[in-house]
Symmetry: C2
Subunit: 211 residues, 2 copies
Amino acid sequence: MLKTAMFRGLSASDVQKIANCLSIKKEKFNTNETIMSYNGNSTRIGIVVSGSADLVSDSYDGSRTILERYYENTLFGELFAPYTGADDPVVIASSPCEVLMFQSKNLMSPCKHACDFHDIFLTNIIHLLMQKTRLQSQRIEVLSCRSLRAKLMRFFELQAKDAGSNSFILPFSLYALADYLCIDRCAMQREMKKMREDGLIASKDKKIELL
Amino acid sequence: MLKTAMFRGLSASDVQKIANCLSIKKEKFNTNETIMSYNGNSTRIGIVVSGSADLVSDSYDGSRTILERYYENTLFGELFAPYTGADDPVVIASSPCEVLMFQSKNLMSPCKHACDFHDIFLTNIIHLLMQKTRLQSQRIEVLSCRSLRAKLMRFFELQAKDAGSNSFILPFSLYALADYLCIDRCAMQREMKKMREDGLIASKDKKIELL
DNA sequence: AAAAACAAGTTGCATTTGCAACACTTTTGT
DNA sequence: ACAAAAGTGTTGCAAATGCAACTTGTTTTT
């Protein structure tokens, strides 16, 4: 049925039992479709199976902040991120994507007939949560840099590490990158220009190379 | 033996079994003592039982960044936060504190004699991890604000919410607050002065009131 | 095939912020 | 009890950054 890290090490029949037990539903979304709204009392948990999604918050002044970015096997839901701003953050598909969704209470108090595979499933969930905290830590690491240049360099270094190469393609547009780094796009591109002039990077459109 | 959310719902004897199974050790630290260094290959996991600790990164130029702040029942360890900067981040007690520590591999592949209480324990760990992601999300929410004033207001609002009152005492010094918000302390205090003048807040030392 | 929407790139100018250098008070250590 | 260290509060000035207003090129829509 469903190939995802959440079910790693479990047989098809075990997966089926768990899916029934937790009332897991699979849903598909197109780019820019709304997947979930964090309206203050949502208790659903989602996991991205394929594609990607962003948690975004739009301000009245038109600026958009990407609060979190969800890739394959990322857990998401308001329980993980109870933002308190005036505006309700929204999870939006940033590419066509499939997600599994279930109610958190089913995870927290699983059915009584505790079976062997429950341990495996819970351990899988722990792995995914640890992965999530790692990604959040990376985000914090980048945002904690004091200057535009430092933010960009830290982000580029992480991307290069993921790509296993000094050159890579940005995973989003320069507009979205500025939103992700919480900086002004024009200022960002000005700084990238300086970094090119200083011989730190080579870049053209979304292609970046660390020198 | 050990009162912590990690063992919620478990009998003393079950706790003892789990503590043996995972080789959990309890340690005490005084303020400013180093609890753990994230040196690139640390696989220990800690949990704060009492007191608090900070994950800090000191730059060559003398500035210190508080990457994360660990309160009671917060899980920590390099596995959760594989920072890649040149400097090794270090976990330091910010007040006298007690922590439990164990090797992560023991969590991920618990002993073979799978007992009832394993489910409870794993569910507790999941709760703690979710709590951790919530705190990280708050941090990201604050850091994603574009101006000093917005950062301060968002942080103050979160503190007021926690305190259940419009007035509260800051959980750390103004130096540390500036580090936590990743901004210059002097600029921060200048902005707080303006906020006082604008009638947004009243503040004196570490006491803040939202108006 | 034209029009519209989106993305990348650039620059001047005003504002915000960081840095440095202070004074003053409170806490800590011996 | 005294000295040292840490914390709070302030300000001028320089540098970094945001904002607004553009141009150009590339997709997407009609």
